[in-house]
């Protein structure tokens, strides 16, 4: 067993074409919850912060990003292991996410979306009385 990491490739989404002509990839995502806040971590290399769009409609959070090309000028592609293209992925949120407090931050191609659970939805403990 080696300690070196291997990673699943980003995969093209089911609808692989855009009007711009590029492919759409499904960004790899981590979802982790801590202290009543759900954090999404999405890998969107090549996407600058202004090119990310996050929309919430009927509990469905849609995240899309338009990637710029990393093509170095005047050079020919001789070996390709990954494709470039836009990103899109949708998540269905549970009812108790507070839509007004959703925040997002883009850094080094990694989008971090924080989804706090609503205060009113924090679990309440119900005491059981013995009859």
């Amino acid at each position: 067993m080696t300690t070196e990491m291997t990673a699943p490739d980003k995969r093209p989404a089911d609808a692989p074409e855009t009007a711009r002509g590029g492919r759409i990839y499904r960004p790899l995502a981590d979802i982790v919850e801590r202290d009543g806040t759900v954090t999404l971590l999405l890998e969107m290399p090549g996407v600058a912060a202004p090119d990310v769009e996050i929309a919430l409609e009927n509990r469905v959070l849609t995240i899309s990003g338009h990637a710029g090309t990393a093509r170095p000028g005047r050079l020919q592609l001789v070996h390709a292991e990954y494709g470039e293209g836009d990103y899109e992925r949708a998540f269905t949120l549970s009812e108790d996410i507070d839509p007004d407090r959703i925040a997002a931050e883009m850094k080094d191609g990694l989008l971090r979306v924080t989804l706090p659970r609503a205060e009113a939805a924090q679990p309440k403990k119900i005491a059981v009385r013995s009859a």
Partner: protein, 143 residues
């Protein structure tokens, strides 16, 4: 799975296609999932070679690029987010840990001819070809 019988140009195309289908059927344990990280694209012309790699979520200070003769080594570490023991992981697509890849260049390069940039999680390393190694065009003189 249906295989068309029109592989006139390449008799091995069917075999390769079946191999790919088998890889994807076996899932990430065997096929694409064990691919080396990071995936790279290589760009080239007579004067330079460029290598691009997607390294999202890795700080530039955690990426090491070393070059010796004609081997460029890209290594580093992606640290897992420090969330403590109370965090509950609902989904984990991304991989964390150390990575290293050695890439053979078509010419020996020197340190001062390498330029690396890291923009929005995409690393781009451009290695210029030394002057003495460049192909020279020989003029043919008319008699």
């Amino acid at each position: 799975m249906l295989y068309p019988s029109t592989f006139a140009a390449d008799p091995f195309a069917l075999m390769r296609q079946m191999g790919r289908d088998l890889d994807s059927a076996l899932g990430p344990r065997l096929g694409a999932g064990t691919a080396a990280f990071p995936a790279i694209n290589v760009w080239q012309n007579d004067e330079a070679v460029a290598i691009t790699a997607e390294l999202p979520g890795i700080a530039p200070s955690d990426i090491d690029i070393t070059i010796k003769d004609n081997v460029l080594t890209l290594s580093g570490e992606r640290r897992a987010p420090d969330l403590g023991d109370t965090a509950i992981w609902h989904r984990r697509d991304r991989a964390y840990g150390r990575f290293s890849r050695a890439i053979r260049l078509p010419f020996p390069a020197r340190d001062d001819q390498v330029e690396a940039r890291f923009i929005n999680g995409v690393l781009r390393v451009v290695v210029a070809r030394p002057e003495e190694d460049k192909p020279r065009r020989i003029e043919i003189k008319a008699a």
